[in-house]
Symmetry: C2
Subunit: 168 residues, 2 copies
């Protein structure tokens, strides 16, 4: 069935190439306050807080370069990670601040770990779902797409690159 | 550590008794339209649509009995089920219609499968998280709690009862 692999275009892209959701993310105003609440109410172990790296992210937001940053924290909920995002002031626009300004605290996106970001974003664009924000993190890249009007929730695509890429 | 089991109260309730999230739910205006979108965009198999049973639900919404109903559909996203909820008109108030009216289409709740609903709701009430809506389904009961102000998202507690309960 897969003897002829289509090398170009997204005609044969079957959805995201995965149906396994790996992340639920909330945007919040005060990450430490929300961490406190989850630890207290759900009895979860306290996670560390990291700050995204603007310098090496090569990020774009709505087509323009941005140095926006956010504080992040992650709780393990089994297959799914609960991510908390607190956008930091300055540095440029971000979909994190956009959602917080428009809707207040709450669910920001659900994420899927995918392969072949370009093929997947081509597939989504063909379904009227454009890229909003894209950038790198250590070992991979993330892409937020404007899927809420179609799917009722924003999607994030996470692509982790092979560790030994180009090692010979 | 658990030799002395506390039989009463919620003093020893550790969070929800689980950290495994099992459901992400969206409230939508037209469930078939949203099902179409998920099947088309994510390449998911088309699920059936069911209507909740008002007659046997013994449901309460904000402390009053309700016969509210909704159409439901479920997609398998791995550990997590994506639930779509379309509230139906008539029958009384519901947290489904309340969220749709207040915020439009989008994420309604995340769910955990728990044991001992009363202990868990006592624990949550002690953290200023009251019950909003509660009812039965075949083989179990559901409880929505007003956790959004504290946790940034509404929680649903799902308790499936043992099948052979009272069988002797």
């Amino acid at each position: 069935m897969s003897e002829h692999v289509e090398e170009q275009g997204s005609a044969n892209q079957e959805g995201l190439g995965t149906h396994i959701v790996t992340q639920i993310a909330l945007v919040v105003k005060d990450i430490n306050k929300t961490i406190d609440a989850y630890c207290r109410v759900l009895g979860l172990p306290r996670p560390g807080v990291m700050i995204t790296d603007a310098e090496n992210a090569n990020a774009t937001y709505r087509g323009e370069p941005t140095n926006a940053q956010a504080k992040l924290a992650f709780f393990n909920l089994g297959q799914v990670t609960l991510e908390l995002i607190e956008p930091l002031p300055g540095g440029g626009g971000s979909v994190w601040q956009e959602v917080l300004d428009a809707k207040g605290e709450g669910v920001h996106h659900i994420a899927f770990n995918i392969q072949g970001t370009d093929q997947v974003t081509d597939h989504l664009a063909a379904h009227d779902i454009p890229v909003i924000q894209q950038g790198d993190y250590t070992g991979g890249m993330y892409t937020y797409v404007d899927s809420e009007p179609v799917l009722g929730v924003m999607l994030e695509l996470l692509e982790n690159f092979p560790e030994d890429e180009g090692g010979d």
